[in-house]
C-alpha cells in the first residue's frame, strides 16, 4: 500500500513541557514525525506548549502553535486549521490523552478529523486496566492476578488464595499514596485499612507480587498490512519493583534463550494485534519468574515511548520516523533502511554490541523526599552507552552520568551495604561494587538485590580487575592487560585514581603500548551490510570504521544527561549549532550520550559519536577527526567543564575563549572587571572554610546568597538570613568539593530580576531579549516565570541594561552567545551573573523573536560578523530585537512526584521543564503559560490567601482584585484581619495546628480553587509547608510569591475578558518580517 492520498493536512500533538517520565524523547519522536510527514508532501500543523523543542521550530511544520495542550486550545487549532487527521502517537501520554479528550468531546467528529496511528478503541483497551486484562486473557496471555476490594475481608480472602506477598494499590491516590507490600496477614490488614480510607472511592487493588522477577521490554512496529517486527529487546538490570524509567536497562536482552525470547515475541505481536494498534510503534513489557520461566505481561503502550527513543538509538532504527510513515499508509516493506540503503525497514535489527541505559536522579534537590526507587519514576534524565560488551558499555555509561564519582571509593558507608542493596535506591550500583570490594559473594548480592547473577558476575569481575591494580605502577601493566582493562570499560581516570596517577599519564602509558580507542558503527545489521551512516561509538577493537572525511569540520560537545538546570534547552542549541554548521558548509560532528535527544539522532549531524562527554572520550574523537574547531558554549556546564583542559591540550575551541568563560566565573577577576567597567554588583566575597564564610557573611550583611562556583541550576544554593544557616551550609558544601570556593553575595531582597540574552561578534552586540522575571530575585531564574518584552522596567533602566550588556560582552571578548542576569532595586541595576555561553532561555527568545540565535552564534564563531545576518535579524546589528506580542515562559515542577517536599520557590532550581504562552497582553500570555504548565489560574471560585506581614499591604490589593472578579476569599487569621481591615469580606481558616476544619481540610474537600501562600523568608514553618504540599496533592494551583500573585490578577482579568486566541509562529513572525522590511 502506498501512502494515503486522501489526507492533506495532519495535526501532530506534541508532549508539552519536560516532566519526569516524559522528557525530550518526545521532541525527538515529534521532530522525526514532522520531518517524515512533510517529506511525504503532507501539510503539517503542530501544537506543543514547549518552546525549547526542535519540533516547534517554524521550519519543521507548516503551522506551529506553541499553545497549551488543552482541549479548548487544541480545538481552536483544529477549528482554524481544519486538518484531515491527528497523529497522536508521537507525543507521549500527554498527546494520547489529549487525542482521547478531543475524540470524546466530539471535536474530532465535528470537524471530520481522523485519528491516525492508534484509534480511540485501541488506546482505551491498552490504557484501561480491566479492558486490557480481558484482552490479554482472551489471547491466552498471563497477567498478574489482582482484585479490587472495598473491605478487608475480601482482601484477606483474595490474598489467601494467591499467596503472600501482595501489592496493595489504593485507587485514585496521588503517587500511589497509601499503597504498599503486605508480606503477611498483619501487614495486609494494616495497609488495606489505611488504603481503603485514603482512597476517594474506598477501593484498593490487591495484586499478586512479581517483585524480583526479571523485567523485559520489546519495541514492536506494525503496519496496516499486519506486518509486525520487533525492533529491540531490552532487559532490565533492576528486577520488577523499580520503574523501568528508574532501572538500568540493557539491550539486547542478555539472559533469555531463543525459546523464551520467541515466546515473548509471539506474545508481543499477539498483544498489538488484539489491542488493535493499526500502525506504528508500541512497547510491551513483560516479567519473568526467574525460578520457572512463568511470563506475565505487565503493560503495553500503543505509542512511541521513552523506550522507543532508546531502542532507536540503540539499534539505528528510527522508530518514530517510520511510525509516522506507517500512519499515513505505507507498509514496512515499502520503506528503506536509511543506514544500509539497500535493505527494507521490514526486518529486525540485530546488533553486535551491548547498550546500557542508566538513569540520572536528583534527590538532593528535594530534601524531604526519601531517596528510594519504586514503581513511580523519579529520575530526571538518562544516559546511554554503547560498548562491545556489557562491561564496556556499563563503564562508559557510568562515566557519562557525570556524577563526579568514578569509582566506589567515594565515601560509601560499609554499615549501609545491606540496606542499600535490599532497598532499590540511586546509589545501589555503587554499593554493589563496594560490596564486592568488601568480599561479598555474587550469591550474597543476588539474594539482596534479586539482580540476575550474570550481571552481578560482570560487575564483580570489573571490581576485581580494578582491585588488582592497587599498589601497582603504570609501567607494570602489560599491553595485554591494558587492552583488557580498556575493553572492559575502565576509564583512564578510574585507572588513575586506583593507581594514584593522573588520567593523562594513564593515557600516555597505554598509547605507548598501542592501546588506543577505535570507532565502530551502529548499522542495524551487525555488519552484514555496508553502512552509509557515520553513527559511531568507541571501543578497543582492532579496526577503526570511522572513516573521517577531509572536509572543513567542527565538533559540537553536547550536554549529556538531562538534569534540572541543564535540560533540553541546551540540546536545542547544540542541534541548531549542527544545522548552522551544515548551512555554512562545514561538516558537523556531534558528541553526546543522551538517548532522549534530537542531537543523538543520526540524522541531525553529519557524524554522530555516541560517547561520554569526558576528557578521555572527547580527546579520542578529536585525535581521530582532527576538527577545525570545537564548540563548547551550547551544551551547558558539561562541555564548559572540559573547555580549559581541552584548550591546554591544544584543542581549538572556537567562539569565546575558555579563559574568558572562566574569568566570568572567577569572583576576584570578575569583580575587578566590573569595578573597571564601573558596573555595580551586589557586595560579594568567597570562602573556602566555615570561618571564612561566616566572616564574609557578617561583613556583607544578611541576608546573603551562598552557592558553590561552577554549577548550573542553583545546585546547593541558599539564602541565609543568619550565621547559623551559613555554618550549616558550609559543613555540607565542604563535603562535596573543596577545590572550588563557595560564593557569598549580599542578597537584594524584593529586587526585580532580569535575564538578558545577547550575541556579540567582538565588535557589535545584539541584544536578543530582555526578560523580566515574574518572581522576585531570590527565586532561581530557571524557576521563575519571565516575560518578553519587559513589563515594569523604566526606559532608563532598560538603557542601562543594554549599556552594561554591551560593555560586558565586549570586555569579555564574547564571540557568540552571552547571558547576563541583573537585579534591579530602587532603579539601580546590579549584575548578578554573566555567562558567556548559550543559556536556558535561548530557545524561548528565539521563538519569541523569530531569530535563530544559535545559528547566528555559530556564524560568529566561524568568524562571520553580525552585519552579515541582517536578513535574519530584521536589519538590526546593534540594538535590541523587537517582539510583536507578549511571550511568557513558565516553569513546570515535579513536586507531585516527591511527596513531602515543600513547593515554595527558592534559589535552588527544581523545575524540570518550561512552557510558553503568547498573548496580546501580559495577562493573556501568563494565563496561557500557567494553563500549559498544568497550574491553570481559575477565573472564578475561592481564593485562599496567607502572607507574611511584610506582604500584607500587597496582599490586600491583590485580594481586592480577586474580590472584584467575584472570588470568595479565605485567609488565615493574620491575613484575614488585614483584609477585613480593608473592608474585604473573607472567611478565616485555621492553620493546620490551630484546629479543624483547617486549610488542608478545605483543600481535600475541593473547596479552594487557588492558593496564595508566601514564605516567611528565612525559613518556612512546617505548618505552611503542609498547606502548600497539600495544594500540590489536591492539584490546586499554589502561588508562593507576591509577584506571582500580582501576575495572577492579570491572568484572571484576561481569562474573564479575552476569547481563546491562538497564533502560529509563522503568523507571528511573518508580520514581523513585513514590519522589518517596511522599517
Amino acid at each position: 500500500m502506498p501512502k494515503r492520498t486522501d489526507l492533506e493536512k495532519i495535526l501532530i500533538i506534541g508532549s508539552g513541557p519536560i516532566i519526569i517520565g516524559q522528557a525530550c524523547e518526545f521532541d525527538y519522536s515529534g521532530a522525526q514525525a514532522c520531518k517524515a510527514l512533510r517529506a511525504e508532501g503532507y501539510r503539517v500543523v503542530l501544537i506543543n506548549s514547549n518552546p525549547a523543542t526542535i519540533m516547534t521550530d517554524p521550519e519543521l511544520a507548516d503551522q506551529t502553535y506553541i499553545e497549551p495542550l488543552s482541549v479548548a486550545y487544541a480545538a481552536e487549532v483544529i477549528r482554524k486549521e481544519r486538518p484531515d487527521a491527528v497523529l497522536s502517537t508521537v507525543g507521549g501520554q500527554t498527546a494520547l490523552n489529549l487525542a482521547v479528550e478531543l475524540a470524546e468531546s466530539g471535536v474530532l467528529d465535528e470537524y471530520g478529523v481522523e485519528l491516525i496511528g492508534a484509534k480511540i478503541d485501541a488506546i482505551k483497551k491498552a490504557e484501561d486496566r480491566l479492558l486490557f486484562k480481558d484482552a490479554m486473557r482472551k489471547i491466552g496471555l498471563d497477567m498478574t492476578q489482582s482484585q479490587l476490594v472495598n473491605n478487608v475481608e475480601a482482601g484477606l480472602a483474595f490474598a489467601e488464595r494467591i499467596g503472600y506477598p501482595v501489592i496493595l494499590r489504593p485507587s485514585f491516590t496521588m503517587g500511589g499514596t497509601g499503597g504498599g507490600i503486605a508480606y503477611n496477614r498483619e501487614d495486609l490488614v494494616e495497609i488495606l485499612e489505611r488504603g481503603i480510607d485514603l482512597s476517594p472511592v474506598h477501593e484498593v487493588l490487591v495484586e499478586e507480587s512479581v517483585l524480583g522477577w526479571k523485567e523485559y521490554e520489546l519495541e514492536v512496529m506494525r503496519d496496516l498490512a499486519g506486518n509486525g517486527i520487533i525492533v529491540c529487546s531490552i532487559e532490565n538490570f533492576d528486577p520488577m519493583g523499580v520503574h523501568t524509567g528508574d532501572s538500568i536497562t540493557v539491550a539486547p536482552a542478555q539472559t533469555l534463550t531463543d525459546r523464551e525470547y520467541q515466546m515473548m515475541r509471539d506474545a508481543a505481536l499477539r498483544c498489538l494485534n488484539e489491542i488493535g494498534v493499526d500502525t506504528g510503534g508500541s512497547n510491551v513489557q513483560f516479567a519473568i519468574d526467574p525460578a520457572n520461566g512463568r511470563m506475565v505481561i505487565v503493560e503495553m503502550n500503543p505509542r512511541v515511548s521513552r523506550s522507543s527513543a532508546l531502542a532507536s538509538k540503540a539499534t539505528g532504527f528510527p522508530i518514530a520516523k517510520i511510525a509516522a510513515k506507517l500512519a499515513v499508509g505505507y507498509r514496512l516493506d515499502e520503506i528503506r533502511n536509511d543506514i544500509t540503503r539497500a535493505t527494507p525497514a521490514c526486518f529486525e535489527p540485530t546488533i553486535d554490541y551491548v547498550v546500557v541505559k542508566i538513569p540520572r536522579w536528583q534527590f538532593e534537590k528535594f530534601p524531604g523526599a526519601e531517596p528510594v526507587l519504586g514503581t513511580q519514576m523519579k529520575s530526571v534524565g538518562e544516559v546511554m552507552a554503547i560498548g562491545r560488551t556489557f562491561k564496556q558499555a556499563l563503564g562508559k555509561g557510568l562515566r557519562s552520568l557525570e556524577t563526579g564519582k568514578s569509582s566506589s571509593r567515594a565515601a560509601l558507608n560499609p554499615v549501609l551495604i545491606n540496606k542499600r542493596l535490599i532497598t532499590p535506591n540511586p546509589e545501589r550500583l555503587d554499593y554493589m561494587r563496594f560490596a564486592f570490594e568488601q568480599g561479598y559473594s555474587i550469591e550474597d548480592v543476588q539474594e539482596m538485590t534479586h539482580i540476575d547473577p550474570w550481571f552481578l558476575r560482570q560487575i564483580s569481575e570489573v571490581v576485581a580487575e580494578e582491585q588488582s591494580l592497587l599498589g601497582r605502577t603504570l609501567d607494570s601493566i602489560s599491553k595485554k592487560e591494558f587492552r583488557k582493562l580498556k575493553r572492559d570499560g575502565l576509564g583512564d581516570r578510574q585507572i588513575a585514581e586506583v593507581m594514584g596517577a593522573e588520567p593523562m599519564q594513564v593515557r600516555a602509558a597505554r598509547k605507548k603500548l598501542g592501546i588506543e580507542a577505535v570507532f565502530n558503527r551502529v548499522d542495524t545489521c551487525a555488519a552484514e551490510f555496508e553502512s552509509f551512516t557515520p553513527y559511531l561509538y568507541s571501543s578497543y577493537e582492532s579496526e577503526d570504521e570511522s572513516d573521517p572525511t577531509d572536509r572543513r569540520k567542527v565538533m559540537i560537545l553536547g550536554s549529556g544527561p538531562n538534569r534540572i538546570g541543564q535540560g533540553i534547552e541546551f540540546d536545542y542549541c547544540c542541534c541548531h549549532a549542527s544545522f548552522a554548521l551544515q548551512d555554512f558548509g562545514y561538516e558537523s560532528i556531534m558528541v553526546n550520550c543522551n538517548p532522549e535527544t534530537v542531537s543523538t539522532d543520526y540524522d541531525t549531524s553529519d557524524r554522530l559519536y555516541f560517547e561520554p562527554l569526558t576528557q578521555e572520550e572527547v580527546l579520542n574523537i578529536y585525535d581521530r577527526e582532527k576538527p577545525d574547531g570545537v564548540i563548547v558554549q551550547f551544551g551547558g556546564q558539561t562541555p564548559l567543564n572540559l573547555a580549559m583542559p581541552l584548550k591546554h591540550l591544544g584543542v581549538p575551541i572556537i567562539g569565546t575563549d575558555p579563559s574568558n568563560i572562566d574569568l566570568a566565573e572567577d569572583r576576584k577577576l570578575f569583580g575587578k572587571l566590573l569595578a573597571d567597567l564601573k558596573i555595580p554588583s551586589p557586595p560579594h566575597g568567597t570562602a573556602t572554610s566555615i570561618e571564612e564564610a561566616c566572616e564574609t557573611a557578617l561583613r556583607l550583611g544578611f541576608p546573603v546568597l551562598v552557592r558553590p562556583s561552577y554549577v548550573l541550576g542553583g545546585r546547593a544554593m541558599v539564602i541565609a538570613y543568619n550565621e547559623d544557616t551559613v555554618r550549616r551550609y558550609m559543613q555540607e558544601a565542604t563535603s562535596f568539593s573543596v577545590k572550588r570556593p563557595v560564593l557569598i553575595d549580599r542578597f537584594l531582597e524584593d529586587a526585580t530580576e532580569v535575564d538578558v540574552d545577547a550575541l556579540c561578534d567582538g565588535e557589535n552586540v545584539l541584544i536578543a531579549g530582555i526578560m523580566e522575571h515574574i518572581e522576585e530575585a531570590g527565586v532561581h531564574s530557571g524557576d521563575s516565570s519571565c516575560v518578553l518584552p519587559q513589563i515594569s522596567l523604566k526606559p532608563d533602566v532598560i538603557r542601562t541594561i543594554e549599556d552594561y550588556t554591551a560593555r560586558l560582552a565586549l570586555a569579555l571578548n564574547v564571540i557568540g552567545l552571552m547571558n547576563v542576569q541583573y537585579a534591579i532595586k530602587n532603579d539601580t541595576v546590579y549584575v548578578l551573573e554573566v555567562n558567556p555561553r548559550a543559556s536556558r532561555t535561548v530557545p524561548f527568545v528565539g521563538k519569541a523573536t523569530g531569530v535563530p540565535l544559535p545559528k547566528l552564534a555559530v556564524g560568529l564563531m566561524l568568524g562571520k560578523k553580525l552585519d552579515e545576518f541582517k536578513h535574519l535579524t530584521g536589519g538590526i546589528v546593534n540594538g535590541r530585537l523587537p517582539v510583536s506580542h507578549y511571550f511568557v515562559k513558565s516553569p513546570v515542577f515535579p513536586f507531585a512526584k516527591f511527596p513531602g517536599v515543600d513547593p515554595a520557590l527558592g534559589p535552588e532550581m527544581r523545575s524540570t521543564g518550561e512552557v510558553m504562552g503568547v498573548g496580546e497582553t501580559f495577562g493573556e500570555a501568563f494565563a496561557k503559560a500557567q494553563l500549559a504548565a498544568g497550574t491553570p489560574i481559575p477565573d472564578s471560585g475561592a481564593l485562599f490567601i496567607s502572607v507574611n506581614d511584610r506582604d500584607k499591604p500587597a496582599a490586600v490589593a491583590v485580594a481586592a482584585k480577586f474580590r472584584e472578579f467575584g472570588f470568595e476569599l479565605f485567609a488565615t487569621r493574620g491575613t484575614a484581619a488585614a483584609l477585613k481591615h480593608a473592608n474585604l469580606p473573607c472567611k478565616t481558616v485555621f492553620k493546620v495546628n490551630e484546629g479543624r476544619p483547617n486549610a488542608v481540610d478545605l483543600l481535600k474537600a475541593g473547596k479552594l480553587n487557588l492558593v496564595i501562600y508566601t514564605t516567611t523568608g528565612s525559613h518556612s514553618f512546617p505548618d505552611e509547608q503542609t498547606i502548600r504540599r497539600n495544594a500540590v496533592t489536591y492539584r490546586t494551583p499554589c502561588i508562593t510569591t507576591m509577584s506571582g500573585a500580582k501576575a495572577a490578577v492579570e491572568a484572571v482579568a484576561s481569562r474573564r475578558r479575552d476569547p481563546i486566541r491562538i497564533w502560529s509562529l509563522q503568523e507571528l513572525h511573518a508580520s514581523e518580517t513585513v514590519q522589518a522590511t517596511n522599517a
Binding site: S233, T255, L256, Y261, T343, I351, V354, E528
Partner: protein, 376 residues
C-alpha cells in the same frame, strides 16, 4: 587462559583466548547474526563443515540445556565469539555453553574482534579457516586453512544423515508454564522425512500437525520411500552444496506427482535441482534470524530464520512449472517455490525457526492441508 588463533585462507590472523576443547579444527568460516539461540546453532547439522562466528558479542549467558538441542550433538567445527560467559544464568540451564562444546571436542576462540572478522567475510565472502590453540606457526596455519576442503562440490550430507530408519513421535513440549502452544494433533498422516541433516524442531512441528514420522537416510531410494506408503514426503535441511547430491535430486524427481512433498532449506535446493533448475553459491550466505521474506500470495512479510550458503537460481527455472512463492527482500533471492500442478512446495528458510521468529509456522499447516487434499 590459553591463547588461541584463527587463521584464514587469505592470510588473516585473529588472536583470541581458547575455550571449549583445546583442539585444532578447520572449516568454512561463516557468520550468524542471530541475537538468541546459540545452542540451536551449535547443534544444527547444516553447520557441518563450518566454523561459526556469532555477531552477538555475549555468548553463553544462559548456558545450555537438553531441550534446546537441534540434534544429538553439536555440528559446528568451531566457534568464534567476542566474549564467552564464564557463568550460565537461566532457570533451564544445566551446563555452561563452553563445557557443552568442550565435551564434544569443539574448540571456541573468544575475545576476537568479531566485527572486523564479519566485515572481512562480508567483503571477501566466506573463507576457509583453522582454529588452533597454544603457540602456533601462523604461516603453517594459513596453509592448513588453504588446504581445508571447500564447501562447493562437497557431499556433507552423507556425514550427517542417519544410518538407520527411525520413527519420531515427540511434538513441541512447553518449557515454561507460560508457553501455551496447542497440543499435537493425533496422528493422521504418515510422513516420511528424508534426513539430510534434519533439525529436531522440524520433526516436532511435523508431529504437531498430526504426522506419524518415519525418518530415512539421505540415500534412500524413491521406491523404498513410496513403499512405506507415505501421505507426504518431507525433504530436510542439511549442510553444504546441493549440486553433488545428484542421487538425492534424482530420487526426489521420482516423487514429484506421486506424493505431496515439502522441502526446507537444502530440501528446497534439492527440489530446485529436481525441477531442473540450478543452484549457486552466495557470497557469504544467509545466516541469521532477521531476514525479511515476502510471501507473494498474501503480500505479507515474514521475519525468517535462515541458514544457507547456496541458493536456487530463478532464471534456471523460468520455463518450468515452478512458481516462485517467496522472495528475500534484502537481496531478492528465491525463498520459496511451488509446483504449479503437483502438490510440491518448499522454502529456503526455516519455518521451524529454532532459533528465530515463528512467523512461518503456517507452512507446516499448509503441508497438512496438502496431504489432506491429496488423501481425498
Amino acid at each position: 587462559m590459553d591463547q588461541a588463533v584463527l587463521a584464514l585462507e587469505d592470510g588473516s590472523i585473529f588472536e583470541g583466548t581458547s575455550f571449549g576443547a583445546p583442539v585444532e579444527s578447520a572449516g568454512e568460516v561463516v557468520f550468524n547474526t542471530a541475537i538468541t539461540g546459540y545452542q540451536e546453532i551449535f547443534t544444527d547439522p547444516s553447520y557441518c563443515g563450518q566454523i561459526v562466528v556469532l555477531t552477538n558479542p555475549q555468548i553463553g549467558n544462559y548456558g545450555a540445556n537438553a531441550a534446546d538441542c537441534e540434534s544429538a550433538s553439536p555440528y559446528i567445527e568451531g566457534l568464534v565469539v567476542r566474549e564467552i560467559s564464564p557463568v550460565a544464568s537461566n532457570w533451564r540451564s544445566s551446563d555452561k555453553a563452553e563445557h557443552f562444546l568442550a565435551q564434544y571436542g569443539i574448540p571456541v576462540i573468544a575475545d576476537v574482534d568479531t566485527r572486523r572478522l564479519v566485515r572481512l567475510l562480508r567483503e571477501r565472502g566466506a573463507l576457509r579457516g583453522v582454529i588452533a590453540t597454544g603457540e602456533q606457526n601462523l604461516e603453517e596455519l594459513v596453509q592448513r586453512a588453504r588446504s581445508a576442503p571447500t564447501m562447493a562440490g562437497q557431499n556433507l550430507v552423507s556425514r550427517v544423515t542417519t544410518a538407520e530408519v527411525y520413527s519420531w513421535t515427540k511434538g513441541v513440549e512447553p518449557v515454561s508454564p507460560s508457553e501455551k502452544g496447542l497440543p499435537a494433533e493425533s496422528p493422521r498422516f504418515h510422513v516420511v522425512a528424508y534426513d539430510y541433516g534434519i533439525k529436531r524442531n522440524i520433526l516436532r512441528h511435523l508431529v504437531q500437525i498430526g504426522s506419524k514420522l518415519t525418518v530415512v537416510p539421505a540415500a534412500t531410494s524413491a521406491e523404498d520411500v513410496l513403499a512405506l506408503k507415505p501421505d507426504g514426503v518431507f525433504l530436510s535441511n542439511g549442510p553444504g552444496d546441493p549440486e553433488p547430491l545428484e542421487r538425492q535430486s534424482a530420487q526426489v524427481r521420482k516423487l514429484i506427482g506421486k506424493v505431496p512433498v515439502f522441502g526446507i532449506c537444502l530440501g528446497h535446493q534439492i527440489l530446485g535441482l529436481a525441477f531442473g533448475g540450478k543452484t549457486y553459491k552466495l557470497k557469504f550466505g544467509h545466516h541469521g534470524a532477521n531476514h525479511p521474506v515476502l510471501n507473494k500470495h498474501t503480500g505479507k512479510v515474514e521475519i525468517t530464520s535462515q541458514n544457507h550458503g547456496f541458493c536456487v537460481d530463478p532464471d534456471s527455472l523460468r520455463d518450468s512449472d515452478v512458481e516462485i512463492t517467496h522472495m528475500n527482500l534484502n537481496d531478492n533471492t528465491v525463498e520459496g517455490m511451488r509446483h504449479r500442478n503437483e502438490p510440491v512446495f518448499c522454502v529456503q528458510y526455516h519455518p521451524e525457526a529454532a532459533p528465530g521468529p515463528h512467523d512461518s509456522h503456517y507452512l507446516f499447516r499448509d503441508f497438512a492441508k496438502l496431504m489432506e487434499e491429496s488423501k481425498r
